[in-house]
């Protein structure tokens, strides 16, 4: 037990020494690893921010069914009851003619001409039933119900049904775009992870090549495989840990500069303030994730790189 501990300490010491000795070689390996980890981290945070933005917009979507003035309370309650029975529906509200007028007036309080016109016309606005769907992308049941002739008979012939302006189409596009972005992100992460593994692999192989005499002698003197391999794995794990820390600092700096320097709270759909808040709120989780990704990339690539050199001779 004591020997194992001493051996472990020696492996770590040697790994740290080798890391210090290989600084320039290590730079290349770490540079690629930083890029990889930064992409991973950036994708994570922006995807969270995108999802947040979409959710916020989607929340504002509802369906308004404008009723003609002859619809009785009985008919309206019947319609609302049927809508409430659908699994796609989150909530159903009624907006009477008077309420609609009040809202209209409030919305156009600054437009005197419009207000005068609408007062003279009596109240031209129809009463409406407002349907809030669970998921704005899934409204098949609702549409089917609205297309029934019995429902259509209740609708105002001019206004009919409105799907909350034209937002739905926009939201579909955004959702589609984020979906593509996410896929690109995943591909980029995989590609860069692979490249950084290759480069670390190469770095370690060069380090091994420089020290092959030493490794041969270690082998002949009876050093175990883990004693020879250990320092290389430790060295690459150091690359991983440092790269993870650098990538977290980079992304942090990016958000700080973006939210203060640009004087803007969002870049298009990317809500920087939210991304910043998300980054800060989940800092420990993200840091842990980055560290583990760095450690895994480093450990796996150095493990594979040393494999070839540690084989015992097979019978010829």
């Amino acid at each position: 037990m004591k020997r194992k501990f001493i051996t472990f300490i020696r492996i770590v010491e040697t790994g740290v020494k080798n890391f210090a000795r290989n600084t320039w070689l290590a730079m290349a390996a770490m540079a690629v690893m930083v890029v990889t980890l930064t992409i991973i981290l950036f994708s994570l945070v922006t995807s969270a921010a995108f999802n947040h933005s979409i959710a916020q917009i989607a929340d504002k979507i509802n369906i308004s069914i404008y009723l003609n003035d002859s619809v009785t309370d009985q008919q309206r309650n019947d319609l609302m009851g049927r809508l409430r029975g659908l699994s796609e529906v989150k909530s159903v509200n009624y907006l009477s003619k008077d309420q609609a007028l009040a809202e209209y007036k409030a919305a156009n309080a600054n437009n005197k001409d419009l207000l005068t016109a609408i007062n003279e016309a009596g109240n031209p606005l129809p009463a409406s039933v407002q349907v809030d769907p669970v998921d704005p992308a899934k409204i098949d049941q609702i549409q089917a119900l609205l297309n029934q002739s019995s429902t259509q008979a209740l609708e105002d012939p001019q206004a009919g049904t409105s799907y909350s302006g034209d937002r739905k189409a926009a939201i579909d596009k955004i959702a589609h775009a984020t979906d593509i972005l996410k896929r690109i992100g995943v591909v980029a992460v995989v590609v860069f992870a692979f490249i950084s593994m290759l480069i670390i692999f190469n770095t370690i192989q060069m380090a091994i090549f420089n020290r092959r005499d030493e490794l041969t002698i270690m082998r002949l003197l009876g050093a175990s495989t883990s004693y020879i391999r250990g320092p290389f794995v430790v060295e690459s794990v150091i690359y991983g840990v440092l790269s993870a820390l650098i990538s977290v600092l980079l992304v942090n700096a990016l958000f700080v500069v973006a939210s203060s320097g640009l004087q803007a709270s969002s870049l298009g759909l990317l809500d920087i303030n939210y991304a910043n808040a998300y980054f800060r709120h989940n800092f420990l989780v993200l840091l842990t994730l980055q560290l583990s990704a760095g450690i895994v990339i480093g450990a796996v690539s150095s493990y594979v790189a040393t494999r070839r050199y540690l084989k015992f001779k097979k019978p010829s």
Binding site: D213, T216, I217, L221, T225, K314, S316
Partner: protein
């Protein structure tokens, strides 16, 4: 201690045997000299014992370990029981004398305190106590060879294998090295020495195994050099 039974080692597919059905038995604490011309198969024999090579056929048992049953991950454990002095020393050029010897102990997980205690004693045996801090580059051939011996014996192996340890040395230094080997043998280590130095063989008067064309040509006690 060492038992070889009809051991053959052939390289490549052509099957030219470097070692051809050699049988050899070495008792514990014995001092055996293996002689033979270059290419006779001496080094191959030693490489089979350290498991740098695997025999094509035959049985090898060293210190109770049957090499046929030896798993790859047990090879390091085997090598820790056998001290080897290589013809080309195989010292680490960027470590000093003390560190080179200590290296063999670090590998097996010995504590630093124990290492600091053990290494000077072994360097004393080989007569290099005053050169602890020297780098291999600063040493003469004989001194380097003695560092290699110190490294081979520092773990107190049951068996010491020395492959032409005097090959690159002048007669005086060669004899210094041999005296160290004799000393170690007196402490109870089985020594297997290969050489083609006639004078050394004649002065040692030990068991001499002569190898020719991969076969044992003669095996005599208290023998002198003869090929």
């Amino acid at each position: 201690m060492i038992l070889l039974d009809r051991v053959t080692k052939a390289y490549g597919k052509s099957g030219a045997a470097a070692i051809d059905r050699i049988s050899l038995h070495v008792e514990p604490k014995e001092f055996v000299i293996v002689v033979g011309q270059s290419g006779a198969g001496k080094t191959t024999l030693l490489r089979l014992l350290t498991r740098e090579e695997r025999q094509t056929s035959g049985k090898i048992i060293v210190g109770g370990v049957d090499y046929d049953k030896l798993k790859d991950h047990d090879i390091p454990l085997l090598r820790r029981k056998i001290g080897v002095v290589f013809q080309d020393f195989k010292l680490l050029p960027n470590k000093n004398v003390f560190e080179n010897v200590a290296f063999a102990l670090e590998i097996v997980g010995m504590g630093n305190k124990e290492i600091r205690h053990t290494v000077p004693r072994v360097l004393d045996i080989v007569g290099l106590k005053s050169k602890e801090k020297s780098m291999p580059m600063e040493l003469s051939g004989g001194e380097r060879q003695r560092v290699a011996i110190a490294r081979a014996i520092v773990r107190q192996p049951k068996i010491l294998i020395a492959d032409e340890p005097t090959g690159n040395l002048d007669p005086k230094h060669a004899w210094d090295v041999i005296k160290v080997l004799e000393k170690i043998n007196r402490y109870g280590t089985t020594v297997l020495l290969t050489t083609h130095n006639q004078e050394i063989v004649n002065r040692l008067k030990r068991r001499v195994v002569t190898i020719q064309h991969g076969k044992i040509a003669s095996d005599r006690a208290n023998a002198s050099y003869k090929i």
